[in-house]
């Protein structure tokens, strides 16, 4: 799949300011995420990375100043994996509440295999490990045709090989004309340009 490279940015934020409990998390933050770009949001714990991502994704709709425009509803992966313990990985993906697409079962199995869950497709998820449950969620990245990804700490509980595979997937997605916005404490080891946003104390927005 490939996306139209031209046109308006997928995601634009203008002059975002957020105050929580009398503390300025960020102010005057602007960014434009265009197709073909990989963005990393950096900042210490409590700096407001997750708050920023929720605003950008459209989950937080008040309490901040500024304007956000989105060309599409993003594919958002948050702290919670939205994986139901009572459902199998296959069911979790097929009946996912994001309702993005009707996937063929072969595609789902293929995506699950690519996140290392081959053979686990129909086990109930509560019998999987925490890392494997995260991987169920990450399988969406191999299925979705959503151009805009907003990922909050996607590497949590993922092993080295998994992290490398995921970063390779980011590069692939960006090369296809998609855009990725990711928070992580890790340094991304990717062979493409990484745009950075820093939030929190000492931020030079």
């Amino acid at each position: 799949m490939s996306f139209d490279a031209a046109g308006t940015p997928l995601l634009a934020a203008e002059n975002l300011s957020l105050t929580r409990g009398g503390r300025d998390l960020f102010s005057g933050l602007s960014l434009q995420v265009a197709r073909g770009q990989l963005w990393q949001v950096e900042g210490e714990n409590g700096a407001g990375k997750t708050s920023l991502l929720r605003i950008l994704a459209g989950l937080s709709r008040f309490g901040y100043e500024g304007a956000v425009t989105r060309a599409v509803n993003p594919l958002y992966l948050g702290h919670h994996s939205a994986v139901k313990a009572l459902l199998s990985p296959r069911e979790n993906i097929a009946w996912h509440p994001s309702g993005e697409a009707d996937y063929a079962q072969a595609d789902i199995d293929d995506a699950l295999a690519r996140v290392g869950l081959y053979g686990y497709e129909s086990l109930p998820c509560h019998s999987l490990s925490a890392g494997q449950q995260r991987r169920v969620n990450l399988a969406r990245l191999y299925l979705s045709n959503n151009p805009l990804w907003i990922l909050d700490e996607p590497f949590t509980a993922i092993d080295h090989a998994g992290v490398a595979a995921l970063q390779a997937r980011f590069v692939e997605h960006v090369a296809e004309g998609g855009a990725v916005l990711v928070t992580s404490h890790q340094v991304l080891e990717v062979d493409c340009e990484v745009h950075r946003v820093v939030v929190g104390a000492g931020a030079a927005a």
């Binding site: 989950l59 709709r61 309490g63 509803n73 958002y76 919670h80 459902l87 009946w95 697409a101 996937y103």
Partner: protein, 228 residues
């Protein structure tokens, strides 16, 4: 790989909710057990005289059904809120109105409908005349639908709160009043031999109004709860 049609998505979501409920059957059985146990308390409190029980039965059965709906509605969104599924639902390209309606429908199928189906047994135990039993089942069938819709509003508004349990009763019970009035009146009407169709028609009208408006409030409530 296009986005599924609206109807397709909601059938899928409904299937997901029902499969989840069926894989933890105790959640489905709990309201029925609650119904049975509370029903058993009334003869103990009011005395076993068949006439007394029969006189109170329409109201008692309706109030227990109402409480069973109330207690279960608190958890409609709880699990999906905690594991992040609701976030995904909000970001979905599908209209949230129908998603909210789907959650209410799933709740009704797993509580209200079952309560309506088992209510004849309990009605007989409380000496409700057999002639009133169809009216009881029918009024519960329609009325619990409204209760599910209203309960979902309360659940959506309180799902983000740690201590939502008591609060949801305060929010929802006043709104249950008309349903209780017409539901129990239908049963009492049947006991007295009055035609019950008008009562059921009013319940049906309230249900239609609820289907039209309640999902709007549920959707707004979910957006607020996930934002907080």
């Amino acid at each position: 790989m296009n986005a599924p049609g609206t109807a397709g998505f909601f059938l899928r979501l409904l299937r997901r909710q029902l499969v989840l409920a069926l894989r933890r059957p105790i959640e489905i059985i709990n309201p029925l057990l609650f119904f049975a146990i509370v029903m058993a308390l009334f003869p103990l409190g009011l005395g076993p005289a068949p006439d007394t029980l029969a006189a109170f039965a329409p109201g008692v059965l309706w109030i227990i059904a109402l409480l069973a709906c109330l207690l279960t509605s608190e958890s409609v969104f709880r699990g999906d809120f905690e594991d992040g599924s609701l976030e995904q639902l909000l970001l979905s390209p599908q209209p949230l109105y129908f998603s909210a309606l789907t959650y209410s429908t799933a709740h009704w199928l797993t509580t209200g409908l079952l309560l309506a189906l088992v209510s004849p047994v309990f009605a007989l135990m409380l000496n409700l005349p057999a002639s009133a039993i169809p009216a009881l089942a029918a009024s519960l069938f329609l009325g619990t639908g409204i209760l599910s819709l209203i309960g979902c509003i309360g659940a959506a508004l309180t799902v983000g709160l740690k201590r939502g349990g008591m609060l949801i009763s305060l929010l929802v019970l006043p709104l249950y009043v008309p349903v209780l009035i017409f539901g129990s009146a239908a049963v009492r009407g049947a006991v007295e031999g009055i035609p019950v169709a008008p009562y059921l028609a009013i319940l049906g009208a309230m249900l239609s109004l609820g289907i039209a408006l309640a999902p709007l409030a549920v959707a707004a409530g979910l957006r607020i709860s996930l934002d907080a």
